[in-house]
């Protein structure tokens, strides 16, 4: 088996567990990586304690972007908004279990960028949301 395409990436790309949209939702955000055409949208429902109760992603793109979105969404259900704000590049790479070059990193981080832009209520997602401090 290929190091970069671990079973879980192939699997979650082919059959994502958290794909879809939520209507109504409390938060939704969509962005794309124009370089490769990856598009990710994430919808969230959030309870009165600022915890994520439900989450789904939609969109299309490469295996890395799709699998990372699926794994990220899975990981945040039940988490508080503050915990989500604290998520970093390293957390995504942990979920994927691989290392990535600069270009692919953008694919992997698109979902986190979208998630954070949504949580922070921004108009536009910026790379600085997922950059190392």
């Amino acid at each position: 088996m290929d190091d970069l395409y671990r079973e879980i990436i192939i699997e979650r790309n082919r059959s994502p567990l958290y794909k879809g949209t939520l209507e109504p939702h409390d938060i939704t955000f969509e962005d794309e990586n124009p370089l490769c055409g990856d598009v990710i949208r994430i919808d969230l429902r959030i309870d009165e304690n600022d915890k994520v109760t439900e989450a789904l992603f939609s969109g299309h793109g490469c295996a890395i972007s799709q699998a990372s979105a699926d794994l990220l969404v899975e990981s945040i259900i039940g988490k508080g908004v503050d915990e989500i704000k604290a998520l970093t590049k390293a957390d995504i790479l942990d979920l994927l279990g691989i290392e990535l070059g600069a270009v692919r990193l953008k694919c992997a981080l698109l979902s986190l960028k979208v998630l954070k832009a949504g949580i922070y209520g921004l108009n536009e997602a910026s790379d600085s949301l997922v950059e190392d401090a």
């Binding site: 290929d2 370089l35 490769c36 793109g61 270009v103 692919r104």
Partner: protein, 410 residues
């Protein structure tokens, strides 16, 4: 020269080709449309320049400055000769194709284009031949018409002729598409442009490196190309312009060397080509490009082209046979050595990543041609591109790696 698709003595001139990507994996370089590799001859020409002759040019009265100036101007002659240009003053050095096109946009364009004007581009242009005109159109308000391409990735020449009825001031198009590989009928298109009263700019970034081009015969008005795609260094580009056009154009960048005289508050521009070469130019890079031209001429551009044609046919055939793979663009007899393809159900980024693990370097993305991809309805494609140092075995490894992509994502 003994360059054949299964036995390629030129390979040994390129040190990087013997590089290992990982323990047992050798480099298979199929990304020459992005940038070419460099032969020893070019690397050592620049090395020798820095070790023996380095000096600033044009104004120095010492041995090094004279040697550097002579080498620099000698390279200009070589390049002029390489593209069939007699008057070397028509060769302007820039940093890349992109700057060459911007130079024309800023200098010729701002002087000659007005709100009511039209210019013609095509749907298959590289961003470098789109964005400079968009920036200018925003400022001046002229209209841009696009020549469409058809299902095969060929320009619609009928539509081109209809657009010429708008009497455009400028027609700017690529000689060879960096995605489809389509070789456009430049001679015919220039002739039609002239008949309609337009000036014709040709983006030669993908043609000059790969086949013989005679600018004078084709009657091109402006031609832009880059050193780094033709065995030369980064940091050097060329703008060819007809002397009467260059002479009539206002300066672009202001500074040292582009002037005859400077007073407090006024200046008098120098003659071409110096008028457009402000500041210390990329001297070592010009000399490196001269060495690249020598190298290509030793092999012969006809041989380079024939070699690439054979490889392209082999690659087109091999890729097309793989189920789920579609090569985009025209039939092999209408294209140069660029093979872009899509794979059912696998994103180009994933294709390229798996290929990389086999040492096969290709490019995935929009290849700086987003409008082209948008029209095709795909966000990206995977592109294998060829040059004189490739051979059949490179393509065999590509086929093998593509099969592996299928098995992983299948």
């Amino acid at each position: 020269m003994g360059i054949t698709i299964s036995n390629n003595p030129q390979r040994q001139d390129f040190p990087i080709l013997s590089r290992k990507i990982s323990d047992n994996v050798s480099l298979v370089y199929l990304d020459s449309a992005a940038t070419s590799q460099k032969p020893n001859q070019v690397i050592s020409a620049m090395d020798a320049y820095y070790r023996n002759n380095n000096a600033n040019i044009h104004r120095g009265i010492h041995v090094l400055a004279e040697e550097a100036t002579a080498e620099y101007e000698r390279a200009r002659e070589k390049i002029a000769n390489f593209i069939g240009v007699k008057n070397v003053k028509q060769i302007v050095f820039t940093k890349n194709t992109t700057e060459s096109i911007n130079l024309v946009a800023y200098s010729w364009g701002r002087k000659n284009l007005k709100t009511s004007d039209h210019i013609i581009l095509t749907e298959m242009e590289h961003h470098s031949n789109l964005v400079p005109w968009y920036i200018l159109a925003e400022e001046l308000g002229f209209q841009i018409d696009f020549v469409p391409f058809d299902r095969e990735g060929m320009l619609d020449i009928d539509q081109y002729q209809r657009l010429l009825e708008n009497k455009p001031k400028l027609v700017a198009f690529t000689h060879m598409s960096n995605v489809f590989g389509t070789i456009n009928p430049v001679g015919e298109m220039v002739k039609l442009a002239h008949a309609a009263g337009a000036v014709a700019l040709v983006d030669g970034a993908q043609s000059i490196p790969h086949f013989p081009v005679n600018v004078s015969e084709l009657n091109i008005d402006f031609l832009a190309f880059s050193g780094h795609k033709m065995c030369g260094p980064t940091g050097i580009g060329v703008l060819y312009g007809k002397i009467e056009l260059l002479d009539s154009m206002p300066p672009f960048l202001g500074g040292g060397d582009m002037i005859k005289k400077v007073r407090l508050g006024s200046f008098k521009p120098n003659e071409v080509p110096y008028k457009f070469e402000a500041g210390t130019p990329p001297i070592a890079e010009v000399i490196g490009l001269g060495a690249a031209v020598d190298y290509l001429e030793t092999i012969g551009m006809k041989n380079v082209f024939r070699h690439e044609q054979e490889l392209t046919a082999y690659g087109f055939d091999g890729l097309s046979k793989i189920q789920g793979v579609s090569v985009i663009g025209p039939a092999v007899d209408k294209r140069g050595g660029v093979l872009s393809f899509v794979m059912e159900g696998v994103h180009p980024h994933d294709v390229s990543q798996v290929l990389d693990q086999d040492g096969v370097a290709v490019r995935a993305g929009h290849h700086c041609a987003m409008p082209l991809h948008e029209k095709l309805g795909i966000p990206a494609s995977t592109r294998a591109s060829l040059y004189l140092y490739n051979d059949k075995s490179d393509l065999d490894k590509l086929f093998f790696a593509v099969e592996r992509v299928k098995s992983i994502f299948g």
